[in-house]
Amino acid sequence: MKKLLEITLGIVTSIGGFLEVGSLATSAQAGAAFGYQLIWAIVLGTICLIFLVEMSGRLAAVSKQPLAGAMRDRFGYPFFLIPLVAMSLLGVLVLASELGGLSLALQLVTGASFPWWAPLGAFAAWLLLWKGTFSIIEKGASLFGLITLVFVVAAFRLHPDWTRAAAGALPSMPRHEPMRYWFIAVSIMGASIAPYLLYFYSAGAVEDKWNETDVPVNRITATFGMSFGGALSVAVLVVAALVLVPRGIRIERFDQIALILTPIMGRSGFFLFAAALGIACFGAMLEIALSVAYLVSQGFGWKWTEDARPRDVARFSLVYTATLIGGAIIVIVGVDPLAITLMSMALTSALLPIAIVPFLILMNDPHFVGQHRNGWISNTVVCAIVGLAFVLAVVSIPLELMGS
């Protein structure tokens, strides 16, 4: 009974925490531009994420080591520096796009176009990290995050043609605008396979003191939680397809996405969208700032935990503070939020091998995970999807930059 509750809670947490500005914007854009045709990118990304999340939980449960610490242990400092630098910079960039989403949500709700939303949002996130504990942040963000289920409700109310949607789950060649098609596909995969989630998840497992008995529970919660989470992204794509395609509206700017729920739910749809966007982005900001702090602190062997007073983990607190400031500066400088979101998601895809290949080697090393090593299925699936995302990213990012 207790196990069942634990599993349910784990799944609910993953669902509530799944959607963030990256998956929301990329799915909506895919739906508006290509109908159901890009559902396969969400499916592939989610499958890969299921394996990776399961792996990072298993690593933490078996070796009592979070991912970042294990990487430094296994590969040594010089090599560790590569994923450290790449993932920290990427973290700041992704955080900026979440902050952009949060600012937009605040602007939608209040009607005020206010340049100070970004620093205010960053400050609110910082305050929660400063005062909160790990479980408050994790549980709170995902509980409020359940509001994103509104997209599933909306998708069902539109009565989509599910057989056509299912056909979109199979990869196909673009019928028009090939460059845009592949670039959005790459961004979707980057948004789904968010590497920062892995540092967050494994550090959380260590904070919650998992052990080997948690391995089966972890497997179930990762599988179902991430699958349902992926279904949320699919719901966003379906709603965007059915609302925007018949009108010929493409998503050029963030503001346009705000309209996707109003034909279904009227005025409350507008505010539900804003609330879902704001909460999802805010939760993701907390997770990203913590992930960067975990990555750096564990890599350098500093004391780290979200459950102590900031002065007792001074350097850890310094890192998340700096990450939030960095993200806020990017938003204040005034880069277009949609552009930065798409670009940071595509960049994530391009940088995936740096984070994932060492992780895979770790998960095959009996010295770390003993008998809980990866099977050939997880190795093959993760390699194939990460490889595909990488190749598509390397090809499509330069083309997108040249084209725009």
């Binding site: 590969f75 040594g76 400092y77 010089p78 090599f79 520096l81 590569i82 080697i361 090393d365």
Partner: protein
């Protein structure tokens, strides 16, 4: 000759020449034994040579062997502590020809 301190981490991936000036491999692990409170070095393990060197960037090369776990495979040589001359840590030299070393089986 006196005692000098050597940073082990800087020996890693240094190329070792044998007594006849030929390359014998790169230092990739140091085997030691706990002896009371002290830790005493028994042997150095040399890994395979320069396979991927030209392909990878310098940072990559530093730890590529560790990353790929190549040192687990054959072609590794075991050098007893008294056969490696570290009087110049930048240029480690074997006191014997490389044929006299034992191949590590794995």
């Amino acid at each position: 000759m006196g005692v000098r301190n050597i940073n082990v981490e800087l020996l890693l991936d240094k190329e070792v020449k044998d007594s006849e000036g030929r390359s014998a491999g790169r230092i990739e692990e140091i085997r030691a034994r706990r002896d009371g409170e002290g830790i005493i070095v028994e042997a150095y393990h040399l890994g395979p040579q320069a396979l991927l060197e030209r392909l990878a960037a310098p940072v990559m090369r530093l730890s590529l062997m560790r990353v790929l776990g190549l040192h687990r495979h054959s072609h590794s040589l075991r050098v007893p502590w008294d056969q490696l001359d570290l009087s110049d840590p930048e240029r480690p030299v074997l006191r014997c020809p490389r044929e006299e070393l034992v191949k590590l089986a794995r």
